[in-house]
């Protein structure tokens, strides 16, 4: 424990800016993964335990595309599109077989794919740590805000995630497709009776969730090291985020992700060894006070 470092940082604007920025990017990356998780749960009522694998694939796809083409935009696109496709296949071929089955079965199918996907990555890209490197366009001097260091890439990352959040939120609330998706979440039988292909919607939502996680992975690739197990810690953290924010709530995922980002960022100063423990502790406290999470509706 190092409370002096924490109070010292809180007193200095430079450190405050640096830590807040780093909390923001942790939070935004988490949000991209967690919002997919929460969306899939909200519509399909399935807890996608293999969601971290999509994040991992997004990062690896982006790295390969970047190495082949040298274009960062293309890399991000490949990361997102590749995982969207993967999500669609995964849902249509495997997950759709265990809807309505025991929760245990769904968890097991996902657990199986966590194991398989990790090994596939190990086979294709090797077991060692890989890194994509910062794209040339962002290899510029960092900005200084109130004395705190803010790399320009971080701003891009935060911007993209916020745009994704807004598009998703407005899309679900305002568009016809959004209404259909919400209706399918509420009463799939009725939606299907009205002549809408619910299988397509389920596949699409899973693909969208996978794409968001892949986008997160692709955006994380320049600033994180890539390893076959990288999806798992992100998965656990996104679970915490969705549970804190409330399963199925997009706003909850955003708030939860930012809270966890800040806890990680500031907690690493005050409790360097117990940062993870702080997150779990926070989750336990939230759940004890509000079992459905901050923005969750009652569980049926």
């Amino acid at each position: 424990m190092d409370l002096d470092a924490l109070t010292g940082c809180l007193a200095s604007p430079a450190c405050l800016v640096t830590q807040t920025t780093s909390g923001f990017i942790i939070g935004m990356l988490l949000f991209l993964v967690a919002v997919g998780l929460t969306l899939i749960f909200g519509v399909l009522k399935v807890v996608n335990f293999s969601h971290g694998a999509f994040y991992m694939f997004g990062a690896y796809f982006a790295m390969t595309a970047y190495q082949l083409s040298g274009s960062f935009a293309l890399a991000v696109f490949c990361g997102a599109a590749g995982t969207a496709l993967l999500g669609l296949i995964f849902e249509r071929v495997f997950m759709s077989r265990v809807y309505g089955a025991d929760v245990l079965m769904q968890l097991l199918v996902c657990y199986a794919f966590v194991l398989i996907f990790d090994d596939v990555v190990r086979m294709v890209w090797g077991p060692e740590f890989r890194s994509m490197g910062m794209p040339a366009a962002f290899q510029v001097a960092p900005l200084f805000i109130a004395g705190g260091v803010v790399p320009p890439y971080y701003l891009l990352l935060i911007g993209v995630a916020l745009v994704a959040a807004v598009i998703l939120g407005l899309g679900l609330a305002r568009t016809r497709l959004g209404k259909v998706i919400r209706a399918a979440a509420h009463n799939p039988g009725m939606v299907s009776a009205l002549g809408i292909n619910t299988g397509l919607i389920y596949g699409g939502v899973f693909a969208l969730g996978g794409m968001l996680a892949g986008l997160g992975g692709a955006l994380a690739a320049p600033v994180r090291s890539l390893t076959p197990g990288m999806g798992f810690s992100v998965l656990i953290e996104s679970f915490i985020v969705t549970v804190i924010g409330g399963m199925g709530s997009i706003l909850g995922a955003l708030i939860g992700a930012l809270l966890i980002g800040m806890i990680r960022s500031f907690g690493s100063l005050g409790f360097p060894l117990f940062t993870e423990g702080l997150m779990y502790l926070f989750m336990v406290i939230v759940l004890v006070i509000r079992p459905t999470g901050l923005f969750g509706k009652e569980v049926v």
């Binding site: 807890v47 495997f94 077989r97 265990v98 089955a101 025991d102 929760v103 245990l104 079965m105 968890l107 097991l108 199918v109 657990y111 199986a112 794919f113 966590v114 194991l115 398989i116 990790d118 090994d119 596939v120 190990r122 086979m123 656990i236 679970f239 915490i240 549970v243 399963m247 060894l273 117990f274 993870e276 423990g277 779990y280 502790l281 989750m283 336990v284 759940l287 004890v288 079992p291 459905t292 569980v299």
Partner: protein, 343 residues
């Protein structure tokens, strides 16, 4: 108790099926247990292979753990994703007490169980009122909380290196646990006693209360059962047996490692239950043996262990849709009762 099973024909796991048949007298369970123990105990006389004895010891550790998880998952319908924390707690608790205090083994054993009881009661009191998926997550969160505590409290637990330097095992009652055969026989005894006790719990009126809570918690509370208390009781009892499994494991590897408290242990426990089947009492035991054999052969053959294991899981989850013992029991039942009729 047969009326409890009414309206449960749509149950995907068919959990209720074995119950009508299992009204054997109690002494029969004890006899079977004693016979199994006898067979296991004379095994070293015929097979000197250390690998075989090691295998049985590992089976005891994981078998106790997996069967206790089944008390939660199969009998009470509480899917705990953090049951492994008690396995880790048992290993660390026992290891630390032996290393730090040098008390006799039985004292350390009891002390570990007391510690487990206290911690499980606190955690259980928070968790058991939550429903399905939230219960799974909160138990997972507690598991990770304990895991990160073990990692960060390095002065006590040795951090990510684990408890090293071996666990002292002073001789007690003529049993010398540093002797491999003694350790083997003790593990078998703990396994058999543990299984008998758990069987006793499962077949007691309390065990049937648990099944009722699993099937319909509302109805159970309407007839005056304190659901929260029953769930908490079985949560703590299951934790005790998981902890015993951890103690056996700590004795076997002569130490304790953070992996024992990691979530993958819980994941494996769930998987073992699935593999063996949750509808029979011995299903998890069968699953344990299967998983360990699978584990040992696959790791010898390929470094891509995850792919093989993943495909096997998919086979059970999507193909068979039930565990091996469920499948066998159902097949046997169909054969006995004539085609088409469920046992």
């Amino acid at each position: 108790m047969t009326e409890l099973r009414a309206g449960r024909t749509g149950e995907p796991l068919g959990i209720a099926r074995d119950e009508a048949r299992s009204q054997r007298p109690r002494y029969l369970d004890v006899l079977i247990g004693l016979a199994a123990f006898g067979v296991l105990a004379v095994l070293p006389l015929f097979f000197g292979s250390k690998a075989l004895l090691d295998f049985v010891i590992r089976c005891s550790a994981f078998g106790l753990f997996a069967t206790s998880l089944n008390l939660l998952v199969g009998y009470t319908g509480m899917i705990s994703f953090g049951h492994g924390m008690f396995f880790g707690l048992g290993a660390y608790g026992f290891g630390l007490i032996m290393q730090r205090t040098g008390v006799p083994v039985p004292v350390a054993f009891v002390a570990t169980l007391v510690i487990t009881t206290i911690i499980a009661t606190v955690i259980g009191a928070i968790c058991v009122r939550l429903k399905e998926i939230y219960f799974a997550f909160v138990t997972l969160a507690f598991q990770m909380l304990i895991h990160s505590t073990i990692l960060s409290w390095a002065s006590l637990t040795g951090g990510d290196q684990g408890l090293r330097g071996g666990i002292p095992r002073p001789v007690f009652l003529g049993i010398d646990l540093s002797n491999h055969v003694h350790l083997y026989v003790t593990s078998c005894a703990l396994l058999v006693i543990g299984l008998l006790l758990m069987r006793q719990i499962a077949q007691s009126p309390f065990g049937y209360t648990l099944r009722m809570i699993r099937d319909n918690a509302n109805r159970a509370s309407f007839i005056g059962i304190d659901v929260w208390r029953a769930r908490l009781t079985i949560f703590v009892l299951a934790a005790l047996f998981a902890s015993t499994g951890g103690i056996v494991m700590a004795l076997f590897v002569s130490g304790a490692y953070p992996e024992f408290a990691y979530w993958t242990i819980s994941g494996e426990g769930i998987f073992i239950n699935m593999l063996g089947g949750v509808t029979t009492f011995l299903g998890p035991m069968v699953g344990t043996v299967l998983l360990l054999i699978l584990n040992d052969t696959v790791t010898r053959l390929t470094e891509y262990y995850g792919i093989v294991l993943g495909i096997v899981i998919l086979f059970f989850a999507i193909g068979l849709r039930k565990g091996l013992m469920d499948f066998v029991v159902e097949w046997y039942g169909q054969r006995r009762d004539g085609a088409g009729e469920r046992g």
